[in-house]
Amino acid sequence: MNPVLETRHLTKAFGGLVAVDDVSFQVAPGELLALIGPNGAGKSTCFNMLMGQLKPTGGTVWMKGDNVTGRTPRQIWALGVGRTFQITSTYPSMTVVENVQMALISHHKRVYSVLPFARRLYRDEAIALLDMGGLADQADRHCAVLAYGDLKRLELAIALAHDPFILLMDEPTAGMAPTERVKLMQLTADIVEDRGVSVLFTEHDMDVVFAHAHRIMVLNRGALIAEGSVDDIRGDPHVQEVYLGGGTVFGDTDA
């Protein structure tokens, strides 16, 4: 099957520091792919290039066969890419359901409409999306008072609003309580199953990764050092060295 997302030799340098170095990978339809690596490995930089927040210094990003390198986050969203952020990003002055309605309004290209009341538009659709994450009973609460775990689930609902073919989730469970983490990833896995969406996510919690990922890629110092099934990665001595301390995170050679 054709990959829905592909990078070819993706590279990002900040001055002399090469944060992402010649990274190439593919995401298959319906795949739940984890990108792991120690702090500073380049995961978030990689994500920001996929979504258009950063411009790569080299290499290309392809989505469903189109070269999308250098497009803005807005254009990439319009292709059908949903995004959740490491630190949640919602509209605190709106209610929970209005947060989702806003994404739906944008999806239906009615951002510049001034006649209808926004709160009445696509409300049922928005409630249905919230319901998927178990947030429907909080729909009319003020978004600013939500618990962090609920905000993460709200972001997921927003990201799904335009029926994307792929979700990019940057540390979806960061900052959540352990039981909540498992629940959120279970929810994500269910969505992958039901909707056939692909998911690319970064994560620090190995339990979460090993429990749900179909495939794992390991990034260290900007480069992919391993890739394979859960069992492959678990048994990979090189990965163990990176994670359990071989001192290679910042390397003795160039320290």
Binding site: T90, V111, R119
Partner: protein, 615 residues
């Protein structure tokens, strides 16, 4: 050759006072994030105090001593102002503090009038520095040479303080991350007070130092304020070398402008500013403000809802009472109500931009005065009928907003505010100096409405329809998808962009709409007064609207209208008294301290608490 050198030297000498005032403003902004509108006032009292001291202290020692003492005295005044007025409101929403500093401007204006009287004071000559020296045949005042020498020393001293001392380390650290500095055990309250005192002392020093060149008068505060804003913005907020370089550029451009283009000196300065900002949006030495760098201050805004039936009924009753005013009110009350309604529409248009869009414009008068001038120019030069001129007023203002907005929305936060101010000043100086077309200072007169609207009653109803219509329209837009998208862009630009909302274009359209509405208010204004003068475009007019919106309540839908009605009303009553500025200034400071959420916001909170207590 000698002539040009003389020009440059004069420019450099003029840059001295400007640099001191600007560096003070820059320091204060960098550490406390307060845009100190009152900075020009501290400069003014520096001049007055210096003048008084020079009368008392004898000789050369007395002269220079008076200048230094004036700086110290103004620093102490600044310290007191910071502790009494600003300390209680640091936790208020961002930029709210500037309202308090505006109150300080009014108070200082009247106090200076009380103490030193209305006459302009001629500054004494510096002992031993009277007369001129000839450089390549050109006369240069000796005092200019003295200023040329002194300024770099002050600049160097400041640089040493900031770059080499422990105090400087704290100041620079606080400029980057206030919270972290606080977490490391630095007493922020005293750091803020200290920096504010230092900044105002510099302003006072600048004021006293320019005495032999300019003297002291009551208009100094606003006159220097624009130049200082220009300097700080061109140099980059928070940058001392930037402030110095920009002060030199502006002063030299000004001197050459006076010689070669006396008709357009003011325009020239703002053109320079706009050009610099278009190439380097954060000034010559400034750096980008990272969104959210300083954290969200104050409680988050609550979700908005269309008014319920009870509120709608209340508004309808209020409108009926207003519409029947001609039946029971005096003709004076009709004129007053017309004024208030027009001002409310103007304030509401700024509130739309500021409250819903989070875009703080310091130059909204450009579109109010712009609309008024469009109508007045059409009537004067094209003999256009009133109806057409009135319709084209919002159109013309909207066109200006469309063009200016396109440039401004590329910036955010305080840089956006400053650039809007620069454009407003550009427009003002254009109108002020292009006398043949705009009448300059004499304004345009005899701009009366058509026969059927001549009576004050009919014009009042006409105004009521358009102002209320405009306000309700903006309120509805706030509830529409477009209004939501505007709030989305304000709340989280990152999320909005990642869900397909073109935040820049949304802001641009909002800026234009606000301009159209302000232009509508301006069109009504010019026909209600029969004339228009450049002061409808000036910085003080922009500030009026800004103050009213903040005091009414930024984070509420009705803030602009309520604030506008309340303060226009209060102003009408107070201006009958001699020292009305003092009273209004104190009132503003009082409201700022007791109601940091604005009038509407505070009332709402009280109501909610009340409801909670009962249940």
């Amino acid at each position: 050759m000698g002539f040009y050198l003389a020009q440059v030297l004069t420019g450099l000498a003029n840059a001295g006072a400007l640099f001191m005032v600007a560096s003070g403003l820059s320091l204060i902004f960098g550490v406390t994030r307060i845009v100190n509108f009152a900075h020009g006032s501290f400069y003014m009292i520096g001049a007055y105090i210096g003048y008084t001291l020079m009368q008392v202290l004898p000789g050369a020692v007395g002269f220079w001593g008076a200048i230094i003492l004036a700086g110290v005295a103004v620093g102490l005044v600044g310290l007191v102002v910071e502790m009494l007025v600003l300390r209680p409101v640091y936790k208020a929403p961002e930029l709210f503090q500037l309202v308090a500093t505006f109150g300080v401007i009014l108070v200082i204006q009247d106090l200076a009038l009380l103490i030193w009287g209305p006459e302009d004071l001629l500054g004494p000559r510096a002992p031993g520095l009277r007369g001129v020296v000839r450089i390549m045949g050109e006369p240069i005042p000796k005092y200019d040479i003295a200023l040329l020498v002194i300024t770099p020393f002050v600049a160097l001293g400041l640089w040493y303080l900031i770059a080499r001392t422990r105090v400087g380390v704290l100041v620079r650290a606080a400029t980057q991350d206030r919270e972290m500095v606080g977490a490391l055990g630095v007493n922020q309250a005293w750091l803020f007070s200290g920096v504010f005192a230092l900044g105002t002392a510099l302003a006072g020093l600048g004021g006293a130092l320019q005495l032999p060149k300019g003297g002291a008068d009551l208009l100094m505060d606003f006159n220097i304020l624009t130049s200082v804003f220009v300097v700080v913005v061109i140099g980059g907020m928070g940058s001392l070398p930037g402030a110095y370089l920009a002060a030199v550029i502006i002063s030299v451009v000004n001197v050459f402008g006076v010689t070669f283009l006396p008709q357009s000196t003011l325009v020239l300065i703002f053109v320079v500013m706009v050009l610099v900002l278009m190439i380097r949006p954060f000034g010559l030495f400034g750096r980008e403000e990272v969104a959210g760098e300083h954290g969200q201050v104050g409680e988050p805004e609550t979700p908005i809802h269309p008014a319920g039936p009870r509120v709608r009924l209340l508004v309808a009753v209020g409108l009926v009472i207003l519409a029947m005013l001609p039946l029971y009110g005096s003709s004076f009350s009709l004129v007053l109500a017309t004024d208030i309604l027009i001002f409310c529409l103007f304030a509401a248009s700024l509130h739309f931009l500021l409250g819903i869009g989070g875009l703080v414009s310091f130059g909204h008068a450009a579109y109010f005065g712009g609309g008024a001038y469009v109508a007045a120019l059409l009537v004067t030069h094209a003999n256009s009928p009133m109806e057409l001129a009135f319709l084209l007023a919002p159109f013309g203002a909207g066109l200006a907003a469309l063009i200016i907005g396109w440039i401004c929305i590329r910036l955010t936060g305080v840089y956006f505010a400053m650039l809007t101010l620069a454009f407003a000043q550009l427009l003002w100086s254009l109108v002020f100096q292009w006398g043949e077309v705009t009448g300059g200072d004499d304004g345009l007169v005899n701009i009366w409405p058509s026969e059927w609207l001549k009576a004050s009653t009919t014009f009042y109803i006409f105004t009521l329809i358009f102002t209320v219509g405009g306000i309700l329209l903006m309120r509805h837009v706030a509830h529409s998808p477009f209004g939501y998208a505007l709030r989305a862009a304000r709340d989280s630009e990152r999320r909005a962009e990642a869900t397909g909302i073109n935040t820049k274009r949304v802001r641009w359209m909002a800026f234009t709409l606000a301009g159209v509405m302000a232009g509508l208010a301006g069109g009504l204004f010019v026909f209600s007064k029969g004339s228009v003068f450049p002061n409808e475009l000036e910085i003080a007019r922009s500030f009026d609207a800004l103050i009213v919106v903040f005091l009414g309540g930024v984070k509420t839908l009705a803030g602009g209208v309520v604030g506008g009605a309340f303060f226009k009303g209060v102003e009408e009553i107070l201006t009958r008294f001699e020292y009305w500025r003092l009273a209004l200034g104190l009132l503003i400071i009082f409201v700022v301290i007791v109601a940091p959420q604005g009038i509407v916001g505070t009332l709402r909170n009280m109501f909610r608490r009340h409801v909670k207590d009962e249940t």
